[in-house]
């Protein structure tokens, strides 16, 4: 199909349970969640075990940056979900627009995270300072790498969608849902990381 206008309205809403997107993407997402489970579980344990070290470390972070990044990622997830939903309701251009806005939110997140790193490095903190900073830099950098991967996936799918490179509406819908699911996984991980680093007293 060379036309970018996929007709998704002929795909009736699912009457039975179905996986949103591709099963292969979900295998990848579940593997990623397992990796984050080990990392965040270790961090939760370390936070309780070295309470004073973590309290002192958390006091050097920038809580406003954490809050703004949370709001940015939630907005990104909203734009991606809205794009998928509206394209399924017969507005094919909504997917490209939604995914582009979500990627833009990702860019905002990365910019804020890098400026936070710069402030911390400038103050003399790094991965080797102590256990808290090891967990902080390692976990947030690992997460940021997933934000960047998610942005690339969203932009590639949005471009392929706009230029009509998917062979049919079903494949296009699968690709859109898969990309959005990956993006939501990145957001879900941040929702758990946010209180561990910026909220819990």
């Amino acid at each position: 199909m060379n036309s970018p206008e996929y007709s998704l309205t002929d795909l009736s809403p699912p009457q039975t349970a179905r996986i949103p997107g591709d099963l292969a993407m979900w295998c990848f997402i579940l593997a990623e969640l397992l990796a984050f489970l080990l990392l965040l579980g270790s961090m939760a344990f370390a936070r309780g075990h070295w309470e004073q070290m973590f309290s002192a470390g958390i006091a050097t972070l920038h809580p406003e940056a954490g809050l703004i990044n949370t709001l940015i990622l939630l907005s990104g997830s909203y734009f991606a979900a809205r794009g998928v939903r509206r394209s399924a309701q017969g507005q094919p251009r909504a997917l490209g627009r939604g995914f582009s806005l979500a990627a833009l939110c990702g860019l905002g997140y990365v910019a804020i995270k890098l400026s936070e790193y710069a402030l911390l490095f400038g103050a003399g903190y790094n991965l080797r300072t102590d256990t808290f900073y090891f967990f902080y830099f390692f976990t947030t950098f690992f997460h940021m790498a997933h934000v960047l991967i998610g942005m690339v996936i969203l932009l590639v799918v949005a471009r392929r969608y706009r230029t009509g490179q998917y062979p049919n509406a079903d494949k296009a819908r699968m690709a859109g849902e898969s990309a959005a699911s990956y993006w939501h996984m990145v957001d879900l991980v941040w929702l758990v990381l946010f209180p561990l680093l910026y909220v819990l007293p």
Partner: protein, 81 residues
């Protein structure tokens, strides 16, 4: 109402985030940890059901992702309360 479910959900997520952030920064009590973690679980489960659209997915997939959330929130509560 249903046509604006995503917008209403986003507003709820933002309000819960702001409430948890303000409480966590202004009140230093053990019950705050419970409240913040409960808010985290509610936000995560909403994201799983509505943004990820797992509410209508096969039950095993929804339970695996929700189970992941329960495990992380549970471990945080176990080690920090």
């Amino acid at each position: 109402m249903k046509t604006h479910a995503l917008e209403i959900g986003l507003a709820g997520l933002v309000l819960l985030t702001l409430a948890a952030w303000l409480t966590g920064h202004n009140v230093n009590a053990s019950w705050v940890i419970g409240c913040v973690l409960a808010a985290t679980f509610i936000k995560g489960q909403w994201l799983i059901d509505e943004f990820m659209e797992l509410r209508h997915a096969p039950a095993w997939l929804r339970w695996v992702v929700s189970g992941w959330l329960v495990l992380i929130v549970g471990m945080t509560a176990l080690f920090n309360m």
